[in-house]
Point group: D2
Chain length 337, copies 4
Amino acid sequence: MIIVMKPQAKPESIQRIKSIIESKGLQAHISAGHEVTIIGVVGDKSKLMDQNLEIFEDVDKIVPVTESYKLANKKFHPEPTKVKVGNVEIGGDTTVIISGPCAVESRTQLLVTAHAIKKAGAHILRGGAYKPRTSPYAFQGLEEEGLKYMKEAKEETGLPVVCEVTSQNAIEAAVKYVDMLQIGARNMQNFYLLKEAGKTGLPVLLKRGLSATIEEWLNAAEYIIAEGNPNVVLCERGIRTFETSTRNTLDISAVPVIKSKSHLPIIVDPSHASGVRAYVKSLSMAAVAVGADGLMIETHPDPSTALSDGPQSLSFDQFEDLTKELKPLIQLMGKKF
Amino acid sequence: MIIVMKPQAKPESIQRIKSIIESKGLQAHISAGHEVTIIGVVGDKSKLMDQNLEIFEDVDKIVPVTESYKLANKKFHPEPTKVKVGNVEIGGDTTVIISGPCAVESRTQLLVTAHAIKKAGAHILRGGAYKPRTSPYAFQGLEEEGLKYMKEAKEETGLPVVCEVTSQNAIEAAVKYVDMLQIGARNMQNFYLLKEAGKTGLPVLLKRGLSATIEEWLNAAEYIIAEGNPNVVLCERGIRTFETSTRNTLDISAVPVIKSKSHLPIIVDPSHASGVRAYVKSLSMAAVAVGADGLMIETHPDPSTALSDGPQSLSFDQFEDLTKELKPLIQLMGKKF
Amino acid sequence: MIIVMKPQAKPESIQRIKSIIESKGLQAHISAGHEVTIIGVVGDKSKLMDQNLEIFEDVDKIVPVTESYKLANKKFHPEPTKVKVGNVEIGGDTTVIISGPCAVESRTQLLVTAHAIKKAGAHILRGGAYKPRTSPYAFQGLEEEGLKYMKEAKEETGLPVVCEVTSQNAIEAAVKYVDMLQIGARNMQNFYLLKEAGKTGLPVLLKRGLSATIEEWLNAAEYIIAEGNPNVVLCERGIRTFETSTRNTLDISAVPVIKSKSHLPIIVDPSHASGVRAYVKSLSMAAVAVGADGLMIETHPDPSTALSDGPQSLSFDQFEDLTKELKPLIQLMGKKF
Amino acid sequence: MIIVMKPQAKPESIQRIKSIIESKGLQAHISAGHEVTIIGVVGDKSKLMDQNLEIFEDVDKIVPVTESYKLANKKFHPEPTKVKVGNVEIGGDTTVIISGPCAVESRTQLLVTAHAIKKAGAHILRGGAYKPRTSPYAFQGLEEEGLKYMKEAKEETGLPVVCEVTSQNAIEAAVKYVDMLQIGARNMQNFYLLKEAGKTGLPVLLKRGLSATIEEWLNAAEYIIAEGNPNVVLCERGIRTFETSTRNTLDISAVPVIKSKSHLPIIVDPSHASGVRAYVKSLSMAAVAVGADGLMIETHPDPSTALSDGPQSLSFDQFEDLTKELKPLIQLMGKKF
């Protein structure tokens, strides 16, 4: 942590900051420049948590130099984390494809989809039973009934299943049926939910918030890991910007940034990022080429009648076509499919 | 709802869309232009909820023409809503000042603050007992203990109290102690929480999400009202943009926009919007002048040691100075203080 | 300038950076923390301009501690600048109202407008003769003919005039007719144009770019002042964000931020910021209350037929109504109107 | 164009709009819904350019249904455009690699770079002689001297050359030396410059503005093409968002969006998009996989002493390593390298 003083800071102001720092058992290194004086703090900065140094006289600003997340930080855990979801490993030598409908609508819809995506090569089945929707009048999900279909689909196909949870109740139900919990973009900073998901010990797929910085995202992961659950997979799904030709803006750079700052695996969701199924294939190719550990792609037996996010869902033919194109690229990247 | 067809759309594609619309008991008005054909849908568009017309052949895009929120919409409820919080009315002829610490830290801190803000003219006491913090290592709040101090402060001063809730547990505790629930920015689209807050019947202070459009914000209010609870007060607290010289960007225009689209009262939180206490006074003046129904301003007995958001908190002297400057402006705007 | 080293940086990496700094005649202050080592640079950092220290081995990041703008910086020029435009002073004890049409369309339109806004109390006439339009098929301005009408309007009414310039040719023409040059948002980082405007010695109204940070804006002002022309007035006109209910998002906080970082006057343009005339009055009130030195408001004899930005232009009646409401507020703020 | 009326719009308001539309020789199709009435306009909407219908009584909003750009629009020119730069074709069957230093610093620096990138397989040499820099105190470029070195480098290596132009003077100089003009992000809406670049007939590399929508970007291209110059290549170089871990946010989706809306070729600049050379390789892979027609990558003989953008520049070894990795991917995508 560095404290930058204002120009013409009074010596007693500088001395006062120095005293506060030293009173907490830390060291203050003072560099008096010709324009400004800066004070470097050496030691455990958490000891200064109850001191808001920026509002002391003559202080210009505080510059943090270390990240606030520790358990999710590559600096302290250089080895990549591999997360097991059922018999599938994310972050290892396979590019993992998660697919399924945005919302579970019926038993038939889910079972048909599960078989279709398995045939096309997908590794994990997704399906929403608790749907966070902008309008209260939109379809809100089948809840526990949907979870039961997820479990049945798993038993029929052998595919592990992942489902979004939006409340403690949903978590309590989901742990009985699914292999992985998903925390959605709108709940990325629902810290209560993060802690509860962490406590289950189940692997957690943590989507990036619509306007979350990468720093905030890794701090959200920290909440889960701090509960003793290191099984976190990050999912980049587009951020909110001024551009309107896609539903969100896929921040493809998030993949190499996460790879340089964290040991956690990261996958990409081109369906939500673009909101347009015509762009899903090329964005999937980009995600694999940039080094993502997997993809999450929405599919539906009949996208034209899907109750949620139909316009971005692929039909089974389109999905099969996509996996065929992805295969040689995944191999070129040195991964298995 | 308008369906815009692609140029050179085939007649059978247009006919197909028309048939779907009519099969739902709606009317399709076709306007064939020299570049494109558009189809206007007349009738209750919710009947088309299970049809994703944008992915049918030759469809270019769907343009909604009506808002998805109804109960929060001024078009259907032109009269301004007034919300009673204890004996205080928000949205009426008084500009309501809510003040208090970001986080309740101790009984003494809260009681001292309650008396000080009352003396300076504030109408409602705020205080956070459940704190959503970016890092799991930051102070997370006193929880129910903090709520008890809130109730005690109310009994001592007569000021109604508002407290943020972040989970169903927090709601269950809060209803026993406070006059108004606050849903914070990070939970604005925690739809489960919105419904639970709606069910309590207590007035709800709904902060705008960091990257929420005004349309999404009013839909979040719709979730609360749809539970039979019309007592919603909106709070603009800054949105996330590229600018970094303030913590967030106060969207002052949100006030006249909300006044034109909704009947709900709206207040402004300049403390969170700017993150810098030196800017709080001038932004408070702007908020009153633009027509806000109230202000929420953070205060603390000693901002330099506040456990949360100290840099944006005012000391009691600064708060008293602010209310003195606000008074003639509020009167000029034709409101009481 | 502070250099933050990576954890476990090798001693020889730290030594190498120290040597480079010292070889430029600067001092390096090293603070070795328990996680990371930081190096404070003391001296004139411009001597390091040809050294990209961030790419040396074991360097994590570079943190600048001083602003790159000097002439526009309040730290070195604490006294507020007052800019004379004809006989009008911006930044002094009067809240200055600039008004007129977005585009000069005809001699009559401009003269009628000039008389109307003068009658309502405006101090300066604006009018665009060179229009930067998104589409090449939109009206592009009357160019020099428009400038001549501006001069005529000035002679008839005594109001000083300001006109946007978009090229060196436009500057060469404008200096013959107008009292102040405007650099528009889209040209805020057209550095060539900034220098040419600086060379004229005329006062310059510098609008903020659509996605310009305040730091970049002040650096753009620095380009003008560095040509020996200190007569710069800043104009906040809304920034680009995700919100679409207004054309741009008025960053009202920019006013106190500029007041704390710079000595230059700042005015607000609520017409371009909102793009909706129904919001212009309340945003004007907010701008005066937040402490702006003036306003720029678009007016037109018949907004329904304006060739540019009609939807945000006020009719003369609306403008007169606005100035009547502003007057007591301006007086309350201790300013003249 | 569709006009959406307010609920309870008076019949005479609707009739008035209809009359205006018909008075311009256009047709008005009225759809009276149970909530709102909409009016579809059939015919050439440019005839309504001098009518601001949104401010007539009872009008809620205007919804455009066709794009304002025509010459750059795929709807009217479905065949992909191929642009010849010297002997190199962009938009054809080769993925074109443009490389070179951000700024031309010396004759030696440029010649050494030209030979190195040619050896590694690049097709076109870039180099900035007119540098738009945020601060007036940063290196501003060698101007015409730099252009001469560009020409010499071309003669020595046979590589065509591209250089950014920032003013009419720069264009006049550049046409004597280079094969392609670049319009930079900060000048994307410098419409005067776009027209002048269009008039030269030289191919133009048009970078996307920092906060330009894709619609605005294609309108900027329209300015160039409208001057009779169809040789426009678009370059995605990152947009401005809230995320700070990269200098800008690479909008990788812009590639498929442009491919669906326009016939113009599009390349990607991962150097400026990320600002961090460690991310350049993976983003280059993503750009090729998503379907870009080429890449622009900054290289420098010694990035640690580059006068501009050193932190994002690759050394020659890094560039050669990159092209080796790109080659099999380009071939997998069915393109030549």
